[in-house]
Structure formats: C-alpha cells, structure tokens
Amino acid sequence: MSHSAHLIERDSLAYAIEKHVEVHTQKCYQCGKCSAGCPVATEMDLPPSLVMRLLQTERKENDEKVLRSESIWLCLTCEMCLSRCPMEIDIPSMMDYLRQKSRSEKKVNPKMKNIVSFHKAFLHSIQYTGRLFELGLILDYKRQSLNLTQDMMLAPKMIGNGKLHFIPEMMKDMPHITRIFKKTIGKGGSK
Amino acid sequence: MINLVSRADELLESKAVQVVIGYEAGSTGKARPAFITDPSKTGSLIFDDRCVQNLAVYLTKKEVRYFGKAAIVATLPIMRSIMMLISEQQVFAENIVVLGVSAEGKYIDIAGIEVMQQYIATCDLGNPAKDQETLAMLNKMSTQQKFDFWQKELSKCIKCYACRQACPMCYCTRCAVECNQPQWIPVQSNLHGNTDWHILRAMHLAGRCISCGECGRACPVNIPCHLLTMHMADQVHNYFNVYAGTTDKMSSVMSTFEPNDKESFIQ
C-alpha cells in the first residue's frame, strides 16, 4: 500500500496498526455500518465503530481502553464489517493485530481469559500432534480455564456418535511442525 | 530457418509485399541488412546471432517506402519499434507484414498487430541484462563520478549523428539540432555541444526508447549513449509503469499525464 510509505512516526496504536497491518484508521468516517452488521456488537463493550473512533483520537488512555477491551476477543472474524464497509477498512486484520498486541503487552481483559485459554489449548494440541485432537483440546481447555463441568453432557454423545477419538491422530513429520512453532511462536510454545 | 525464407518467398511471389527487409551475410562475415524484391533471392536471408541491427529504422526511409508494401524480419526490439512507429503514425499497419523471430531465433507467425501485441506481452521488456548491470553500476556512483564519467565519454563524440541515424524513433525530417533560429545546440563537436546533444536525444526518446541498444552499437567512437535512453526507459517504467512499444496505440508518456503522478522534488 502506497500510503504506509509516507507514514510519519507517531507514538500511538493507530500508527502501529498502519505500519504493521496497513489499516488506516483515519479512513473511518464513523458511519457505523460495521457495528450495525456485527453479529456480536451487542455483546461487545466497544462496538467496532467505537474501537475505530478511540483509535483515531491517538490518545494513550483510549489506546489502553482498546487493548483491554472485551471486544477484540469477542470478534468472530466473520468479516461482515469488512464486506460492508464503504471505506473497505480491514477491521478483521486490525483485530488480529490488536489481539496479539493485547497479549504481548499483557493487557488481556480478565473476563476474556476463557477465550484466550481456548485458543492456547488449540495451538497446544497442534503443537504436539500436528493435528487437532478434540478430546485433548477439551481436557486441556478445562485445565487452563478451570471450567471443569462445562460440556459434561456433550462428550458422551459425541463418543456415541463416533465423533470423538480417544487417541490423538498423529502426524508423521512432527519435528517439522515443532520447527515451525519454534520459529514463529518461539521456544516458549503457545504461552 | 526454412520458415522465414519460405514465408518471404511466398509473400514476394504472391505480390503480397514488394520488398522483404531482413539480414544477409556481408562480405566481412558480419550480417548486413538486405532488401529483397526478387522472390528467387530470398535464399540469401539469414538469421543468427550476428543479426542484431534494428531494421525498423528502414521503415520510415523514403528509399524503402518507394518499394511499396514491406515484410520485415522482426525480433522483439524491432516489433516494439514497429508498435511505436504505428502509434506515432509514421508507419501504417496495413503497409507491413511482420516476420517474427523469437529470442531463440525461431520463426514465429505474426498474423497481425494483435498477435504481435500478445507476443510482446509475454516477453521481458526490461533493458538487456548486460546493460542493466552497467546501469546499476553507474547509478551507484556519486554525482561527481557520474559527471566525470559522462564528460570523459562525451568528449569523444564527433557529432556524426550515427546514434540518431540508427534509431528507428529518430525519424524527424528536421532534427532539433538542425534548427538554427535559435541555435539550440552548438554546432561544433565540443564537450558543451556534445553534452547538450546527448541530453536532447535522451529527453526526446523518453517514453519512446524500446531498449534495442542500436545507438550505442552504431557509435563509431564507442560512447555508451544507449545507456542514457535505457536509463530513461527504466525510469519511465518506474514512475509511470509503462514500457514503450507494447501496443499500436501507445499514448506517449510525455504527452499524457495522471493527476497523481508521483514525484518528491517539487516544493
């Protein structure tokens, strides 16, 4: 994108977003169409259009509000906002970036720990088997989230219907996957 | 090679064209341009590594036009020259037949301008690799080094205008250097006049040079003057994303514009 070539460095989240995911927050003119179509806008503490507005202010306290929000974790990446945005602002990519930033700065909203735990458990599963081991995932998630009783009723029926394996299906070339994880997430694994 | 010869033969025999412009072996072992009007003589046509001259230059010459409709042996640079000449209304598509030759030296059937356009679209249109290296080397030099380099080179110029005569795009009946009211370019072959001449030539070929390198080859004192026009071709592509000679309806880079043309030096 030619825009980013002329960026003037600023100390703000909006700048970081422009630089890393090439989403130009100033393009937003607050029509609100993203919030109007977002399936989870009503659950969010900050609907997408409000996130955009907060970022536009380029003020520390507003950036902080965004990184600590529930919204960035509730976003389903369904891309409805992007497909209807008149300015074609890639909110989903921006949300991906905000989530990673929120985690790396240890600002994840405490109420959202479950969601993060699930994602982590998911990656754990891939890291050690190369593929998703659904039973393992659920157990791992329960361990991380301490939601021990959740979905107690679901698993037996899944097993009954032949939808849950007891033994993980392993990839052959596991060292390859381990290398990929090492080079991306780093030695610390998916923590 | 049979294809090229037989096709030339067929065209002359059927009187579809009156002359075939191609290459033949010269007495010194070099290839020289051939203008064949007699179908029985097409056997002398050759095509090999020696055949590098840009034949398109003859298309605008009165003596060649006199023959009538022409078929021309054309490698990529020649095809691009033809596209430019048609775009600038110097040659009419209906007056020429193109006998295409691929980079590997194989005959390719160019049934019309559209086919030629499609063929050109598949080719690499940048400057030849050897010249690209030299250009890169020059571009790395300091301003003073560049100045010294060109002053040394241009001091050799004897103002013979072989560079102009060899260039298919230099078809003007009166060149700007021949204009004496005012006398834009000093007549003498001195450093000042030489520099002005080569700047003028490069500017006039901006957006029109098709990177054949003929000017440099034609220079009797070996000035790499083709680098000037090739540098311009590079920049035209860099700024305006245009390669010269890709269609028969090229809108000239220097006579058109986009409102958002990018530059960084105008205050």
Binding site: C31, G32, K33, A41 | Q90, R174, C175, C179, T256
Partner: protein, 667 residues
Amino acid sequence: MARIGVFVCHCGENISATVDCHKVAETVGKLKHVAFSTDYKYMCSDPGQTLIKEAIKEHNLTGIVVSACSPRMHEPTFRKAAAEAGLNPFLCEMANLREHCSWVHEKNDMTTDKAIDLVRTLVEKVKINSALQPIKVPVTKTALVIGGGIAGIQSALDIANTGHKVILVERSPSIGGHMSQLSETFPTLDCSQCILTPRMVEVAQHPNITLYTYAEVEGLDGFIGNFTVKIRKKSKSLDEKICTGCGLCTTKCPQKKIPNEFEEGLGFRPAIYVPFPQAVPNKPVIDREHCTYYIKGKCKVCEVVCPTKAIRFDQPDEVIEVQIGAIVIATGFDIKRADFFPEYGFGKYKDVIDGLQFERLASASGPTSGAILRPSDGQVPKNIVFVACAGSRDPAKGIAYCSKICCMYTAKHAMLYKHKVHEGKASIFYMDIRSAGKNYEEFVRRAIEEDYVNYIRGRVSTIYERDGKLIVKGVDTLLGGQPVEIVADMVVLATAGVANHGAEELAQRLHVSYDSHKFFAEAHPKLKPVETNTAGIFLAGACQNPKDIPDSVSQASGAAVKVAALFSQNELTREPLVAFVNRTAPPLYSTCVGCFLCQSVCPYQAIEREDFKTRDGKIIKTVAKINEGLCQGCGTCVALCRSKSIDLHGYTNNQMYTEVMALLNEY
C-alpha cells in the same frame, strides 16, 4: 534595423526610491538599437502616455519597452497607447521594475543592476517581436441547448429573451426533466409541476425557440461561434402537424403493460403514449420497441381510431445539420436504482424504493394520486425508514462523492409522509445533515421539531424481509455504535446522484472533458464553473454534478449570459497569442513529421490534421495544424515538439531563447 524606445517609470517614488531610474534609462540608452531612452515620474498618466506616443512617432520606433509596474497591471494600457501611435501593440513589452524589483529589494547598486538586466532582456526580446493581428472569427448567433430539464428550459428561455435563436434538443418525448416528476420542492413545499409547467409552455410558444423532442445530438464539428451540429430526430411514427393531441390512440392501444418511465416503474403506459398529462409537446409517440405492430407486424389500432389520420408507421428517423455559435449542455443527472445495493436486497424487495419513486407516490398526479401506499400490497405504511447516503460517500460499492441533494429531499420526504400519514412513524438513518442553503437548515429542523421525524445517526448494514415486513438493521453511532433494528413497512433509499446515461458518449461527441464519474468537467473549478474546456460550450445544471433546483437555475442563467455575451458581437476578436505550425515550400511543406503527440498534449483539441495531396488526390504528407479558434496559447505543445515545428506567437522559441541569453550575458 530595429529602433527601440525605452521608457523608465518612477511610479512616483515607488520605483525610484530603490532603483536609480535615471541610471537605468541612461545605461540602457547606450545599448545597440536603442534609439530613445528616458525616465519619467508617471508613465501611465496622460502626459506619460503622450510622451511615449510622441517618441514613437518622432523617433520612428519599431518597438518599445515600458519599464514600470507588472504587465498584469498596465500592459493593456501601454499596448493601447502604442497602437494609438501607430505601432503594433504586440511590439510593446513591459519590464516589471516595481513588483519584481523596487518593492522587494533594498536600495543599492545590485537592485539598479537587476533593473537594468530586466529592461535589457526585454529590449532584446522586443527586437524580435513580430507585429501580430488580432484573430477575428465570425459568430453564428444561434444557440443549441441540449437537455430539456429545468436547467435547459431556463437557459433556452434566457437566451431566447435576449433576442437570439435557440434550438432545444430533448431526448425523451417531452421536456420537463426530473423536476416534472417531483411532488413538492424543498424548502418551501410548493408544488413542482405548478411552477414548472408554465415555463414548459413558454418554451413551446417562444418565437425564438425551436424545440426538438425525441431527438439526440449525433455529432459536432467546428469551433466557437462556428459549430455545425448533427441532430437525429427519432421517428415519432406520427405526423405532428396533423395530430391534435386528442389522446384517443393512447386509450385504445391494446398494449398497456409497459412500465412507465415517468412513474419510475410504479405504473404502466401503452405503446403509443404521452409521458405525462402536462407534457410539452402534448402529442404522443410510438415506442417501437414495445408496439405490437412493430413486433408482430399487425395491430394498427391507433391508426384506425385516429380521427385525423396522423399515424405514420413508416416514418423514418430524420438527421438534420444546423449551424450554431454556442452550446449549453444541460443533460441532467440520473440516480442509482435500488437494485444496485447488495446489502439492501439487490432490488428484490418491492417495498424498498428509491427517492424518485417516492416522489411519484407523493405526487398528486402520481400512480396513487398522492397517497403513500406500499407498492407490494397497496397498504399505507405505518413505519417508514429513509436511508440517506445510499451509494453516496461509499467508495467501495457506490461513489465517493456527496450527492448534495439527498439530505434535503429526504427531510422533505419524511415531512410529506408525516403530513399524509399522521399516525405513522418516520425514521431517517443519516451520516451528516448537509443543509447549507437558504432556509435549508430551518427546513430540516422543522422536520425534526415539528414533524417528529426520528433522525438516527448511523448507516444501515442490511435490510431483509420477514412476514411482509422489512427488518432494517442499522446503528446509532451517537450511542457509541449501538445496533438499532427497525421493523418497517417501507424503506426509501436516498440513492446516489450519478451522471446521466449516455453522458460519456455525448461528451466524446462534443469533445468536452468529463471527470472520472462521467460528469461534465468545468473549465475551472472556481472561476469558470459554467465554461467547459472547449470555447463556446457551456454547462448548466446537474450534468456537471448533482444540484438542486435553485443551483441549476442559477447556473442555467449564468450559461445564458455567457452565450448572450458571445452573441453580442458580430465577430469574435481573440488575442493572437496562439500556436502555429511552420510551413515551408514543397516537397517538405512543413518540418512537422506528423507524429501528432501534440494532439494528446493539447487541452483544447486545437490541433488538427492537414493533408497535402498531389493533383490526383494522393496524400503526400499529413502534418499538424492549429485551429486558431480553439487554441488558448498555453504552449505545452511547443515544448513537446521534438522537431521544433510548432511555435507560439508572443512566446516563440527564438524570443524565449533570446531572453535567457540576454539576461545572463552582457552585450
């Protein structure tokens, strides 16, 4: 041998306070070919001008340099003085010693030296100036107005009232345009037809106006004052002279189910039809595309019932050529239709309509006689939603610009609805309310305060249908982006105003430029909003960009004045500072080699082709030729021309070269 006169002005003390004017006159006076040199307190005063005139005569001067203020200020003054003394005005040059020297520099030797350099430079230039004659072009005093909407009507009437002939060409069977479709107009809520129809009738009856409806402009040649236009009069399949407009044919036509364009598809019309009751001319045309006779070869009911036997099935199109002197383009605009919006249902919901359709519903002469009824079931909508910026300010799916008129007409629509359905609920989703205009903001406030129209700031994400209702999913951004869902009976989209269909082709035919949205382009966005780049062609109304009625009418009158000013002279006089292509003896004819790159660089299409032929008509050479009527003298072609075959009067290559040489070298 050149004999140059130099006149150095003190401008009171404006120049002489920092420049030694006497020294300037003295130094320059010593130059070769300077026959006379003097300084004086006020050159522009009467005595100053007399001094110049007398010097010209007395010293038989062949050129003068007045060294005073900016030529942008007094060049006309001194050129006139020169002319009065018998010297060609283009042999007078001015050196700018005031704005460019005395006012911007300190008093010292360098400043005086600079003044000397400036004067010297122009002395050298004026030596090689040529005497130029003004260009005179005759004017055909007939105007062509293209488009019979309110802008075209106003322009035609204004020009006709100045006593000049006007030809008004309208593509559809009646004049009136979009304004005739409107119900009431903002901000006064007066009836659109009531104010428009008298003007339509005036056009029809005006002795200076020739009206061609059902006609289109096919081609244009020539230049300002001297255009030739080709007009295709489409066959109406009717002898208009005999037809009395009784309308019997239209009631008897068996083909009755053709969607009515005037009613925006909300009603039907027969194949032989008058678009609307107040149409001008009020005579029918046969729509050959839908007429049973033209499709199947039999029917002819209209011919049978016509009391005056006016139907002509075999009437051909007629193409006429007319000489005209000026053109007003007033082809209007169009709107994007509701079927354009993916998220608003691709046009599949009958009760999602556009603004013009709502106008027809609200119009007393419309398909519902002014009752607001749902197109799907004819019920009165109890809950209506208006969506502003539907396609406007939407670079992704619509257009990037603001359509300007929608804020106001949407407020009007909501008001009309509330006035007709008192218990109804009207909501407007908007992004900004743009109500700049006389009494406009007050109008919008009235909609909110008096008619309780519910303005919600936010866009609508999607509309879908359920149980015969329309679910509108919008948002209230003033509540921080809170989603709003309205179960509506009807939705009106204030769709974007766009260029009229066929505008691009017409622009190409007329050789005028258009912008990336296919609207006609004005010559200058601020100072020439009515002119196009082509001299003699003007713009009026929404063909330039979406406009409301007052703006359209103002511009139409503006265009009319431009035409009238042009027609006030028998001949057009133009400064001869135009380009020219050299000519030499055969067989060369010109040093121009005919590459025609100058054609693409010229902003005025002033470069033509000239063929030189042998006696038997064979073309020897084709070279460029300047149309002096069109050239404005920018000289871009001169700098581009590789063989230096084009030059520009007043700024020739030789003159500019000489200036540079003189400025940097002391002779």
